[in-house]
Amino acid sequence: MKNEGSKIVKWLLIGISLLFAFLFLLLPLFTVISEALRNGWAAYKEAVTDEYTISAIWLTVEATVIAVLINTIFGLFAAWSVTKFYFRGKKLMTTMIDIPVTVSPIIAGLIFLLTFGRQSPIYPYLQAANIQIVFAVPGIVLATVFVTFPFISRELIPVLESQGTDEEEAAALMGASGLTIFRRVTFPHIKWAFLYGIVLCAARAMGEFGAVSVLSGHLRGKTNTLPLHVEILFNEFRYVPAFAVSSILVMMAVVILIIRSVVEYRGKGAE
């Protein structure tokens, strides 16, 4: 009797979850693809190979690569210092790392706008040094880095914490240098969490809209990333190209998802 009941509950829960996933995740994806191909393959190809689209792809890739690089380095440093050393303000630092996920991206964008824009006291100096941040590529990169800042360190902190410092101490006692200790003792331990963090960071960087939107100025061919380009096309009622460009983002996301699954699978296997 009890068994019967739990079986019903089981299938009910699975059914609801599947329905939800279908309605809210899969259906929109199908819609994107089918809308993109509504006017046929030629129209799709034209939209995708459009000059502005290509430059948006490149800008998105550029911002993503830089954000991943910077956050890899700083994420590693931050996670390392928080877990391996004791210092004053450590709690504060752990909290600070999380700021980007708690602050709305729009507000983050506005903060940068106010810090580097016309109203800012440092604006004249930037101007004199011929540095353009707001409504230019550096602003976009900056916003992307900010928004994706916690992803790598947050993956690393728990693994580094659970490992403790014993193995590193043992290695140091045998005369190993700091670099050797990192390469041979610490890195193998954090490798999968690290890769996973990079994947998440890349995924988030590619899709970033809010903060980037504030700082970009929407200059077509110059400061337009893929998500911004989609928005512009959509606002101009050019639905087919809008969906076509969206499908590029969808494909990039699918690639990331596949990499993510592989990393997760290999990481589990390694344990």
């Binding site: 193995e167 101490e169 290695a171 140091a172 006692l173 005369g175 190993a176 331990h189």
Partner: protein, 352 residues
């Protein structure tokens, strides 16, 4: 002295983990660092290894002050309390690590690793990872890894703590043999008295960040200098007013007395007992079969004593009134301990 600590102090915040520690160790000796949990044993070991810096005092190894030499240059072997094996390296790689760091050539590394694997009896396990080993096997790997670069000093932090009683016994004798064979000066930490007495050439007793006493196990066992060392070994009983037991001379300012089970003779009322006239009556509260003997808990007034009786002696049951005779006891005056013998033993020897 090969290793010497001079007036070492170390605090963590307000907590004094090492309080004016001084001792010396001769070359080739196996030293046991014995004390209750939290008494600062690991802290001493970590300071010698260079993983912790003393606030003041000098650490001298082989005539050189090494306070400012980093851990990586001290060439000390260390076996951690929880082994700290490199979990992403095989047994072979774990042992080879210290040699690879030194950039020794491949052939000599291979030779040395094989030698050590033979020494610790782990042939055929070279390719295993630490997670695939038993506690005793991990311990052997940790030992081999620490020995691989030929350290002049080996430090072992509770090497047997995580191992069950049976294997522990075997490993103890094994370790002692190994260290004797290699002749490497070693310090090992333990909070197990039996282990310390059995394995060490000399003991250093720690308590509350201080050193209570140093000496051979026998010396310390027979002549404890402080109240702490007197009560630390065996199942001691504390007696507030020891003059209730007959024929002990009075010691001025005595705070209390400590007796070990082997200092007490329990006899049935009818049994032959040479010192009958100096015995007092007690009531047996508990008897416990201990395998090789029977442990008795006897009440004399408000004092509970733990004593033993051989298996071939007549059986004593709970509730029985027995004669209690104490041969000797440690009287504590302040922090100092002093042994006093029962007077009737002396009279007896005069008679003979």
């Amino acid at each position: 002295m090969y290793v010497e600590l001079k007036n070492i102090n170390k605090s963590f915040g307000d907590f004094k983990a090492s309080d004016n520690i001084s001792f010396g160790i001769e070359k080739g000796k196996l030293i046991g660092l014995l004390g209750p949990s939290g008494s600062g044993k690991t802290t001493i070991l970590r300071m010698i290894a260079g993983l912790e810096t003393p606030d003041s005092g000098e650490i001298i190894i082989d005539g050189k002050v090494i306070n400012n030499i980093p851990a990586s240059k001290r060439e000390i072997g260390f076996v951690f309390q929880n082994y700290a094996l490199f979990r992403y390296m095989t047994v072979y790689e774990n042992i080879a690590f210290g040699l690879r760091v030194r950039k020794n050539d491949k052939k000599s590394i291979d030779k040395r690793v094989k030698e050590l694997i033979n020494l610790v009896g782990l042939e055929g396990m070279e390719k295993r990872y630490p997670s695939q080993l038993s506690g005793g096997q991990k311990q052997r790997v940790a030992f081999a890894r620490a020995l691989a670069p030929n350290p002049q000093l080996l430090l072992l932090d509770e090497p047997f703590a995580a191992i069950d009683a049976k294997v522990r016994q075997e490993l103890r004798s094994w370790l002692k043999e190994m260290i004797l064979k290699l002749g490497v000066t070693s310090i090992f930490v333990t909070h197990d008295q039996d282990e310390a007495i059995e394995v060490a050439d000399e003991l250093i007793i720690t308590n509350n960040g201080k050193i209570e006493q140093t000496g051979t196990p026998l010396e310390i066992y027979q002549n404890p200098e402080t109240a702490f060392t007197a009560s630390f070994f065996g199942q001691t009983s504390i007696i507030g007013d020891y003059t209730r037991f007959k024929t002990f001379s009075k010691v001025e300012n005595a705070s209390s007395a400590i007796v070990r089970p082997e200092f007490i003779k329990i006899t049935k009322k009818g049994e032959v007992q040479k010192f009958r006239s100096s015995a007092v009556s007690g009531i047996v509260e508990r008897t416990l079969f201990r395998g090789s003997n029977i442990e008795l808990t006897v009440r004399v007034g408000d004092v509970l004593l733990t004593a033993r009786r051989a298996l071939d002696e007549p059986i004593i049951s709970v509730g029985e009134t027995v004669d209690v005779f104490i041969y000797r006891l440690f009287v504590t005056v302040g922090n100092k301990a002093r042994i006093i013998e029962n007077e009737s033993l002396r009279e007896n020897s005069i008679v003979i």
